[in-house]
């Protein structure tokens, strides 16, 4: 089980979860008119944290060094959540994951006369700062996947708990209301002139908000906490980089995969916390996805009418509110919603009310065509699940074991196990295993895999949809592409070189014309998206093994700079009030996962999406994450890689991995092999 053992919310509505929840119950709206020329030349509505109050709270921590606004919010949030648990943040068994879209973006450009070093604006550095503050010995993972970041971060934390990497994971999401983000959304004409009105017939855009939220996820229940994570997934629309799918396809797929993992059916969902941004297209799209799953009877709310859209924090704080709704059996109203304004007959609530809740769904969608979902369940007083198809399945008990020891067996079949010890066996079949070393032995215990986090995770069998599958083969790498130093390589072979190009922009356009794919939209992309796009193009054009369904193919990418160079370009256009022309076409590319969106649109890939920010290429986490997706049966193939652009140079390394048997030219999808491949081109 993956337990949600403690949480905190810092927003315009308060500095604790209970302050926020009480405010939401009382239907308080945190969105106010902001008149601050540093944020935007004209007044605009948004939900912001009071700066004096934030500084007063932070002063109590007696921090010895200065911290940026978002860092203060995140630190305070984590401190409060930790205080409710006995979790040792300085333990190697405690991980930290951050979810954010723009991090310390206020440190970029002239809006800040900051004393921080230039690196402080980078997202991996934010992770380092937070990890260092708490003295956490592990590398803090930073996920930046537009507005689904929070939900994907929680799903990632659950994966790390289930596969045994950590006992506890602190998931903290945050974003601030900055000149950068306000100008960008203004240029997209997506901000409502008033507090936003989710699902309402008069809805006319979103409201921005800032917040930090923390959820501590654990493999051990904390007293009195009975909410568990049951399943979660993400999916891409493969439709448009800023407009949601008209059929709700990505959201539909993400929900279905989350339900399968949770071992429940859509009719078990009693209540849905929607993304509900209050833009005309988003809310309509969500109503279609909900309706396609026949969840018209579930109640639906969106909390963005109270908090605004808090970007990287949204998935976290809205999941906290959902968990609190379940604990208190209380449904929160959708502030701003008056009259039903979407085409499907979904049950949006406009009154706070009581309802017994045991199984609920959280939805999220964002730029880059990204969608995510997760399912929460409530345990009964005996610690078991009260309802849901999965919990009623007797096979779940008899077919799973956490500590299985079998002394002798002739035909032993174990589907999945966390701690497997086998003393003797004649015919051993293991359905799923990555890097399971079995030493040839007669009477000797088979050693456990050395790397705990590469063990297969436990899974709730889903009788309704599960097909008997042949023994799963381990993920292997079949193809890889490098683009660096003005050279393009496929599987280590040089395909193209241009010695004259002096920058990425010149080179990548030349390379594109050399390979001649017919795709005029290529030239509209920012340079780093062009780089990632071309690497995928070259790799997939030479890939014969793509007979997978769209939703079975994931894209998991990473880099160190997020989109810093494009961010700086956008920042230049908004620095001065007298020359203030924010470009929507530049702004849309200031999210690293837009590259995933471009690749997904081109190749019709609708599987899992995630973009991680590492200080340097990190094959260990990347392979663990992707293998985790394979083992939870969310994908059958995946693009993995690193696409980075710095002032001093650029680099793309991308590979294709599928679950298949090893052949002559394939390599195991392990950290060691991925590192070797990454370093194979100097």
């Amino acid at each position: 089980m993956t337990y949600l053992i403690a949480d905190n919310i810092i927003s315009s509505l308060g500095f604790t979860t209970s302050q926020n929840f009480e405010a939401l119950k009382a239907a308080r709206v945190g969105i106010k008119n902001i008149d601050d020329k540093l944020l935007y030349p004209e007044p605009f509505p948004a939900s912001v944290v009071d700066t004096d109050e934030l500084n007063a709270h932070f002063a109590k921590l007696n921090a010895k060094t200065p911290f940026a606004r978002l860092e203060k919010m995140m630190i305070l949030s984590i401190v409060d959540a930790l205080g409710k648990t006995g979790v040792d943040i300085q333990s190697e068994r405690t991980g930290i994951i951050l979810s954010t879209t723009k991090g310390n973006i206020d440190l970029l450009g002239s809006e800040s006369q900051s004393s921080f070093d230039q690196e402080r604006v980078l997202l991996w550095r934010l992770g380092e700062v937070i990890g260092h503050y708490f003295g956490n010995p592990n590398r803090v993972e930073v996920l930046s996947n537009a507005c689904i970041s929070g939900v994907v971060a929680l799903n990632t934390a659950a994966m790390l708990i289930k596969n045994g990497k950590y006992d506890n994971v602190v998931v903290c999401g945050g974003d601030i209301v900055s000149r950068f983000v306000v100008s960008g959304f203004m240029s997209f004409l997506s901000l409502s002139p008033t507090a936003c009105k989710p699902f309402d017939e008069k809805r006319d855009g979103l409201s921005l908000g800032e917040a930090a939220g923390t959820i501590i996820v654990s493999n051990t229940p904390n007293e009195g906490q009975n909410i568990v994570w049951l399943g979660g997934a993400s999916a891409n629309d493969a439709n448009h980089i800023s407009g949601p799918s008209r059929t709700g396809e990505g959201s539909f797929i993400a929900i279905r995969k989350a339900l399968v993992e949770a071992g429940i059916e859509s009719r078990d969902i009693e209540h849905i916390s929607a993304h509900g941004t209050a833009t005309p297209y988003n809310d309509e799209m969500e109503s279609i996805a909900i309706s396609r799953h026949n969840m018209e009877n579930a109640t639906v709310n969106s909390l963005k009418g109270s908090w605004g859209h808090t970007l990287g924090a949204a998935g976290i704080i809205e999941t906290i509110a959902l968990a609190e709704e379940m604990r208190q059996n209380t449904l929160l109203k959708t502030a701003g919603f008056v009259k039903h304004g979407v085409s499907k007959a979904i049950h949006v609530i406009n009154q706070t009310q009581t309802k017994e809740l045991t199984t609920c769904l959280k939805m999220a969608s964002g730029f880059g065509g990204s969608n995510a979902a997760l399912v929460l369940g409530k345990l009964g007083s005996d610690g078991s699940r009260k309802s849901g198809v999965g919990s009623q399945n007797p096979a779940a008990g008899s077919r799973q074991s956490d500590n299985l020891t079998i002394e002798q067996s002739n035909h032993l079949t174990i589907e999945q196990s966390n701690h497997l010890t086998i003393e003797q066996s004649s015919h051993l079949t293991i359905e799923q295993s990555n890097l399971l070393t079995i030493q040839p032995s007669n009477n000797q215990a088979i050693p456990q895999p050395a790397t705990r986090n590469l063990q297969p995770e436990t899974r709730n069998p889903q009788p309704a949809t599960r097909n008997p599958q042949p023994a799963t083969r381990n993920p292997v790498i079949t193809t890889c592409c490098h683009i660096k130093n003005n050279k393009v390589y496929l599987n280590g072979k040089l395909l193209f070189e241009d010695r004259k190009a002096t920058d990425l922009n010149t080179f990548i356009k030349k390379a594109f014309r050399h390979f001649k794919p017919k795709y005029p939209k290529f030239f509209k992309m920012d340079d780093i998206s062009k780089l990632g796009f071309l690497a995928a193009e070259i790799m997939l054009a030479n890939n014969s093994g793509t007979d997978f369904k769209e939703e079975e193919i994931g894209v998991v990418l990473s880099n160190s700079q997020s989109t810093l160079i494009t961010d700086s370009r956008f920042q230049e256009s908004i620095n001065e009030d007298t020359n203030f022309f924010p470009s929507p076409a530049v702004f849309v590319y200031t999210l690293p996962n837009i590259m995933i969106g471009e690749i997904s649109i081109r190749h019709k890939l609708r599987g899992e999406n995630a973009f991680f920010i590492f200080a340097a290429f990190n094959a260990g986490f990347l392979t663990d994450y992707i293998n985790g997706l394979f083992f939870s049966r969310k994908i059958k193939a995946c693009i993995g890689g690193w696409v980075d652009e710095k002032e001093e140079g650029y680099e793309a390394f991308m590979y294709w991995t599928t679950a298949q048997s090893m052949q002559e030219n394939t390599k195991a999808h392990s950290a060691q092999e991925v590192n070797k491949l990454y370093n194979s081109i100097g």
Binding site: L189, I241, S242, F523, K524, F581, S583, A585
Partner: protein
């Protein structure tokens, strides 16, 4: 008007990164969106910025965009009528 149309063609190619297109490829009366030049919703937003930045014209109601941005010619007519 002809001069303005030619200037707009160059500006649009530049602003919208229509890399493989030359001014002479564009017919001033061709629809910019849909099956015409194949522009999309982000291009439409970018054209609003172009009008403001290059011609000092702010479109008050984005819904007017459909008519104004129908073709290069309709854009030129709108600019001529509204420029101070």
């Amino acid at each position: 008007m002809e001069e303005l149309i030619e200037k707009l063609k160059v500006q649009i190619i530049e602003q919208l990164n229509l890399e493989d297109m030359e001014p002479e490829d564009i017919d001033a009366e061709d629809p910019l969106f849909g099956n015409g030049m194949g522009l999309d919703s982000i291009d439409a937003l970018e054209l609003i910025v172009l009008l403001e930045k290059e011609y000092g014209i702010k479109i008050q109601n984005p819904k007017d965009g459909q008519k104004i941005f129908f073709s290069i010619k309709s854009m030129a007519e709108f600019i001529t009528a509204n420029q101070k």
